[in-house]
Symmetry: C2
Subunit: 130 residues, 2 copies
Amino acid sequence: MSNTTVDSYSISELAQEFGITTRTIRFYEDKGLLTPQRRGQTRVYTPEDRVRLKLILRGKRLGFSLDESREIIDMYDPAHGNVDQLKRLLDRIDAKRQQLRQQQRDIEKMLAQLDDATARTEAALKEHSN
Amino acid sequence: MSNTTVDSYSISELAQEFGITTRTIRFYEDKGLLTPQRRGQTRVYTPEDRVRLKLILRGKRLGFSLDESREIIDMYDPAHGNVDQLKRLLDRIDAKRQQLRQQQRDIEKMLAQLDDATARTEAALKEHSN
DNA sequence: GTTGACGTTTACGTTAACGTAAACGTCAAT
DNA sequence: ATTGACGTTTACGTTAACGTAAACGTCAAC
């Protein structure tokens, strides 16, 4: 279960923690979203790998594709060479921001709609108590 | 193009307005999300149909499946008979609310992450100006 | 009367994101 | 030495949400 190095994880540990299957984790690796090390054949995950996985799943909850999640994750690292690329990166970051703000507005409207639905349903319930 | 009744829409009008294809709209009908009337063979959409379509697309932007969107849309109508069903409906509405709140938190974190990415990228740009 | 623009149905194709199963290796425990 | 828990690779299957194309009807315009 627990390891000597303490801050490394097995594939099943991560799977259990996040409520996904090992198949899913290997699939993410296949798609280039994770690149764990190997102890022999066996995959060994660092805390950084774990964070990346967390980000992927967060993206999933927001309806992002794996490609989109990869893009967002890659935005965090500064390794992108020349000035032109950096400027384009800024644009892509901004685009994502706009998208997230749109989602915020969508959520607000849906929550309002749900409040409405609750009110209507409770009203219908009161009708039944007559 | 425009109709005599004014508040009815053709399939291509809706497609253009929302930036989707007619195929998509017919697909939604196939899945039971829309039930337009017919003038002969031709589909005729009411303003209510248009609203439903809008809700579907809003759900899409939030990563909802068509089934989920259908569920949310159906929550708005009070036609669901008995007390037990109404109480279960309230629970489902509440569950959706929780999910949306989770998405709100996810968005906040992602926006913070993007701010971080922007700062780092701009820092990298300043390096290049040396 | 044929050419477009628009509509229809039917049906096969495609992509993403895994599920599921087979077939195998490893290592500690019985 | 075999069982069980865990890991591996390879590969075919599945579902959702459409795309794409074929083949046809309709109706106004030239």
